[in-house]
Symmetry: C2
Subunit: 190 residues, 2 copies
């Protein structure tokens, strides 16, 4: 599991690299003392510097209410170690329970007061919504600027992933509880 000493800041110009390979994310949010967590595969970088992201947040989710109220969310990049919690976070609603407590998920706080970041993840992007009402209403699409980024230095450092242990690999979601781990790294020479 992540320890506080391994959480290192990521240069904002390199923050897109936490998301560039298309991993599943956990979207965390908070408002007026309430907090929630949902899984989202439909997230991607939208710009390099200042970094922006796009993410789909369904209008029926509790997370949507919290984000529309606060204008803030975090994209947490989970590892295989917490795949069970990722699936569970995507399979129940936070309206009637605190998923963090139910799922035994611990959190820490980065630069954004009150915004929970999930321990057991490999990277974290703190995001501020750029209000785009049309996209939000029509497509459930949120665009946000990344205001801070962090990584577990055991897994991501100097702008590169290094997945040494099986439980540290990031995840790609398919459907019906089926995941792929991020696989073999290889380099192509131009």
């Amino acid at each position: 599991m992540t320890t506080a000493t391994r959480v290192q800041p990521v240069d904002l110009a390199k923050a897109y690299r936490l998301l560039n390979h298309g991993p599943v994310t956990l979207v965390s949010s908070a408002l007026h003392g309430q907090r929630n967590l949902m899984a989202a595969s439909w997230a991607m970088p939208l710009d390099f510097d200042p970094p922006k992201v796009a993410v789909v947040i369904d209008r029926n989710t509790y997370t949507r209410e919290l984000i529309e109220g606060s204008g803030l969310f975090a994209l947490n990049i989970p590892t295989r170690a917490i795949a069970t919690q990722v699936l569970a976070a995507g399979s129940c609603s936070g309206r009637t329970q605190d998923k963090f407590a139910t799922l035994g998920i611990e959190t820490f706080v980065g630069n954004t007061e009150g915004l929970p970041l999930v321990i057991g993840c490999a990277g974290w992007l703190e995001c501020r919504v750029l209000p785009e009402s049309h996209n939000q209403q029509r497509y459930d699409l949120f665009i946000a600027e990344v205001t801070a980024a962090w990584a577990d230095s055991d897994i991501f450092s100097n702008g590169h992933w290094h997945f040494d242990q099986e439980q540290q690999h990031t995840l790609h979601y398919m459907a019906g509880g089926e995941f792929f781990a991020t696989g073999e790294a290889f380099k192509v020479m131009p």
Copy 2:
């Protein structure tokens, strides 16, 4: 390599599964007898049925001109077998050359007349742009409806990927020529 007999239609309601795990894509386009190909990691599903996608197409690319002219593009999901061509397609411009010819990339046509689909890919999404001028101008973000989807039945069938051979795995792009192959599949029980 893909043979025509292995290209099978994918039910549109399952088309998102070609893209859900966050693979790198090749964006193919054509206009008035010109055609082009670029690599794009910033692509994601946006809706299930009818399926929509979101993809970032930089304003300086030749592909952007072709897509703005035709309102059409395809997202091709490449395999490791053509990783070298994926990197090359993302590293040169099609303004002054036909990248398909330069890179030795062969194509076929699906349902959309004149729209090239790349042989050697595992899946194909034919897309029609939903004009959203603000997104296109401000964020280089294109939203499109998927009008047809296809998969190499050796690699994707009945709504599921099955990567049996190393060269058949889809790809996730990092930076600087560094890729990850889609890795081990595993299932989490709720």
